[in-house]
């Protein structure tokens, strides 16, 4: 494999507040390393509030004050030179954004300027990068919207005139129209119905294939991961607990949490009750010591209570952080 486009190493990002009578420390991203190759779609799944959004924000350098990066680095490699996204200047960052790196925020239905027509938002974000005269640019945008099953007249609408799903698609279009090399997408399809979602995913995939872009894709919908991503990372309580080829993870999850997650996936036609995980999700302000999953883990032992398991490569390209991984299942 060639040089990875993105290398995250030892990343630690906490929310630290201590003011006005409130003092808290939320360890939302705690020592995460991963790397993503060119042309790869990397899925990120995990428990709700396990820190996926935080991780992604840190990667995209969308850091707002209570969030602090305490350690680690996020290095992108666009072209030949690696850049540490936390250490470059504002201008340099501005040049990278949208041309090379675009980001779809969680809650993307709310990120459009309520008093600006969609058309102008496209101009704001993409015009510079596409570098064509206006009519041509608009044509490009229109074509692009078409792929997302959006009528060209959404360009003339104000955001509030669109339904949640339409807004989400607009945001996706906005993030992909410049055909960036790296796309970060945080639950971009939650408000879409399955028909549209399928189309949107197909479009994302198509672009990705055309350009050889890399994508980080966060969603709770494991079916999306199954159908879209190449590799999958599973997060739990601020940590990456498992990572591997999507097929491998679905077939043979090694971390007990992943195993549970896969097992609890609903399938159309299921009638038997699925079981949720016992116990409460950990509070990141005060995470359990050792392996953070141990209070809910059926396989937990003493060591799990004491020590945090490191990520270890269990089989080629398949890592997990567990002292007692699930047995490997042959393909």
């Amino acid at each position: 494999m060639s040089e990875p486009v993105l290398t995250v190493s030892g990343l630690r990002a906490w929310y630290r507040t201590s003011a006005y009578g409130v003092s808290r420390e939320v360890r939302a991203v705690d020592d995460i390393s991963l790397s993503i190759a060119a042309g790869e779609i990397y899925g990120l799944a995990g428990e709700s509030s396990s820190g996926k959004t935080t991780l992604i924000k840190t990667i995209a350098n969308a850091i707002q004050p209570p969030l602090e990066v305490l350690a680690g680095s996020v290095v992108f490699r666009f072209g030949d030179r690696p850049v540490d996204i936390h250490r470059i200047s504002r201008e340099a960052l501005g040049k990278i954004r949208w041309k090379h790196l675009s980001y779809i925020m969680q809650g993307s239905m709310n990120v459009l300027n309520p008093v600006r027509r969609v058309r102008h938002t496209f101009f704001d974000f993409a015009f510079r990068h596409i570098g064509r005269p206006k009519p041509e640019f608009l044509q490009v945008v229109r074509d692009h919207l078409q792929r997302l099953h959006l009528a060209p007249d959404v360009l003339d609408a104000f955001p509030h005139q669109l339904s949640g799903g339409m807004r989400q698609r607009v945001t996706i279009a906005l993030a992909t129209v410049c055909r960036p090399e790296f796309i970060i997408a945080d639950e971009p399809t939650t408000a879409l119905d399955v028909v549209v979602q399928k189309g949107v995913l197909a479009m994302i995939h198509e672009i990705q294939r055309e350009l050889g872009s890399s994508i980080i894709f966060v969603t709770h919908d494991m079916a999306v991961h199954a159908n879209l991503t190449d590799r999958l990372g599973i997060m739990y309580a601020g940590r990456l607990v498992e990572e591997g080829r999507t097929a491998d993870i679905f077939r043979a999850p090694r971390h007990p949490y992943t195993a549970h997650l896969i097992a609890s996936l609903p399938r159309l036609g299921d009638t038997a009750p699925k079981k949720g995980l016992d116990g409460a999700p950990p509070n990141l302000a005060d995470p359990p010591p050792g392996c953070r999953f141990h209070p809910r883990c059926p396989r937990a032992s003493d060591i799990c209570r004491r020590e945090a398991p490191p990520m270890a490569e269990l089989s080629p390209g398949h890592r997990a952080a567990c002292f007692h991984p699930e047995p490997e299942r042959p393909a």
């Binding site: 707002q64 300027n113 309520p114 008093v115 102008h120 704001d124 974000f125 104000f158 509030h160 005139q161």
Partner: protein
């Protein structure tokens, strides 16, 4: 009929009601004053001379007749409305028999020109500065500019005007300090005249701007401080949208609605004139007219000016309401 036309109609009704009530209040208040235009006229006419008491009694009687103040308040009310309905405010009592509309017409262009220019200037600058200061919160220069604007803001206007006058009229006498143009000039559209008018407007405009800036500045700044925390601003920043554009089209554009409302209302209320400016700089305008009319109990003139002002402000408020859906697309015509 539904939707916008219905809204328009009811809103127009509200407009008419407000104008009607407003003018009535003005009528009542002006007539409640103890100042009697006849006595004022007599006092002025006999101030330095000696007039026998019998003559004064006679004078009082004939002036009452002349000014048409004979009837009851009710009669005056009826005749007032019947005149106003035709756009006529009658003769001024303190400059009898010159029509009120002539007096207002002479003063109004100056007031409008001076105040439109200074209001717009102040509005644009204040909002720009407030927007910048709210957005670039850490900029030292902007913070300083903010403090500066806020320093001038609370200084009584009279003082600011006078300081300017002393500085530019006496210590360093480069600017004219009195009147709307040089004495003995022909009022035509020559460059010389226009230049003189412009030069004479500098200090009045400057003083109004210095004092007014802070208000808009503060308003904009606090509006912006709310908006910068919105998601769409954060997202635009992430998208690498130029900061200028973010400031303009994202941050300030969203804060604009109340500010435009404010602008419209200030523009509407310019018809009251700028009393102190006119006094200090000897600038022609409606303010002086109003003050003197109030002083001598010239009801017709006071009512004329207030009516113009009431209508102007109401129109401004009406326009703003009608334009609301344009300014903020989220607000539908209700």
């Amino acid at each position: 009929m539904t939707g916008y036309p219905l809204y328009l109609l009811t809103r127009l009704g509200q407009f008419a009601l407000v104008v009607f009530i407003g003018i009535n209040i003005a009528f009542i208040v002006t007539h409640a004053t103890p100042i009697d235009p006849v006595e004022q006229s007599i006092a002025a006419a006999t101030q330095f001379g000696s007039t026998s008491p019998e003559a004064i009694a006679l004078m009082r009687q004939s002036l009452k007749e002349l000014y048409g103040l004979e009837g009851s308040l009710g009669d005056q009310y009826v005749s007032f409305w019947s005149r106003v309905a035709t756009g006529d405010f009658g003769p001024s009592l303190s400059a009898f028999p010159t029509p009120v509309s002539t007096l207002i017409g002479r003063a109004l262009p100056w007031t409008v020109a001076l105040l439109v220019v200074s209001t717009l200037l102040t509005w644009v600058l204040g909002n720009l500065l407030g927007g910048l200061a709210g957005y670039y919160r850490r900029s030292k220069a902007l913070r300083f500019a903010g403090i500066l604007a806020m320093t001038f803001h609370p200084i009584p206007y009279y003082i600011v005007a006078f300081l300017l006058l002393i500085v530019f009229g006496y210590l360093w006498p480069v600017l004219p300090i009195s009147g709307g143009y040089k004495m003995n000039m022909t009022r035509d559209w020559s460059w010389e005249f226009i230049g003189s008018v412009a030069a004479h407007a500098i200090l009045p405009v400057l003083s109004l701007a210095l004092v007014g800036l802070g208000g808009w500045f503060m308003g904009m700044r606090s509006l912006v401080s709310n908006i910068v925390t919105e998601d769409y601003v954060a997202y635009a920043e992430l998208g690498g949208v130029e900061r200028r554009r973010i400031l303009g089209s994202y941050v300030m554009r969203n804060a604009l609605v109340p500010q435009v409302t404010g602008l419209a209302m200030s523009l509407g209320s310019i018809f009251n004139g700028a009393i102190i400016t006119e006094q200090v700089f000897g600038y022609p305008g409606v303010g002086t007219l109003l003050v003197s009319a109030v002083h001598v109990g010239d009801y017709s003139l006071v009512l004329g000016i207030t009516t113009v002002s009431i209508v102007a402000v109401s129109v401004a408020v009406l326009l703003i309401d009608l334009a609301y859906p344009l300014l903020d697309p989220r607000v539908k015509a209700r």
